[in-house]
């Protein structure tokens, strides 16, 4: 018998610097995926997202992440991404692509915009060509395709692992 005991209301890990990762999400097929992405972004301490269009974000899924995260809605992502990039945030796409780097090996810039793709279509070609880096998560088995919210969670986890204090 080991001495593990539940902590139901764990205090959050403290950031000593702000979380300077911005997350950009294109129009999605499923608002459930979008809301799940917002929730995990909140848990990872993010405070800023770019969302294409003006989709409804289901608060029963996203919970109170919406009180922490400012969501910028844009008719199309490209001009907004260009502005963020010009202000010094490299664009990091999450996609299976030629020229990509494995997420296991990628060193995130601390200030960056992580851009995820549509469930079925992935990152639009016009966006993909604007990325400074493309990272890809190794897949070892069936169905050979991560759900987009799952992949986003893995990428955010990796970012937090590299910047545990912000």
């Amino acid at each position: 018998m080991n001495e593990f005991r539940h902590i139901r209301h764990q205090p959050p890990s403290q950031l000593t610097k702000p979380r300077e990762l911005v997350l950009a999400v294109p129009k999605m097929q499923s608002n459930v995926n979008l809301a799940r992405i917002v929730r995990v972004a909140g848990c990872c301490g993010l405070t800023h997202m770019l969302v294409e269009g003006n989709p409804k974000i289901d608060a029963t899924i996203a919970r109170d992440s919406l009180q922490q995260i400012t969501i910028e809605n844009h008719r199309t992502l490209l001009p907004a991404l260009r502005r963020w990039r010009e202000s010094g945030r490299p664009l990091v796409g999450l996609e299976q692509a030629e020229g990509s780097i494995s997420l296991h090996e990628f060193r995130f810039p601390r200030q960056a915009v992580l851009v995820v793709g549509h469930e079925r279509l992935g990152l639009d070609g016009d966006l993909l060509s604007q990325m400074d880096h493309v990272v890809e998560i190794p897949i070892y088995g069936r169905p050979f395709s991560y759900n987009v919210a799952t992949a986003t969670a893995m990428a955010l986890y990796e970012y937090c692992r590299q910047y545990p204090e912000g």
Copy 2:
């Protein structure tokens, strides 16, 4: 413009050894969460899961992970977990608990059983006390609680990062 190009049917990363991580899932509140867990386990190359009870696994979510993963159903998990442990697989619980280690710092045994908890109740106290290790994922913001399938995905990602070839 960079030279990234979509690869829609990326070949999987090759394992040079079998994936010897087993995943154990208690009775869940949501079969959607269970099916999402099965899908990500499949993508990570797992071939064996223990599932409490005999829940329906939604194949529209889990996809063909079910052709790769052998699912052992058990009325209760504890006796099965004890057998796996006696055969040399330490039990690693994923839970917020006193005595836990951060997933950022935990070195997984290559052969292990990862045990996740119920959405609301977490890992049952009887199971928790049997764990050899408890790992916990740092949380930095609201809602201060990862969805169980999201947390499982992060833990599986970390395992694969440590054992990229099996």
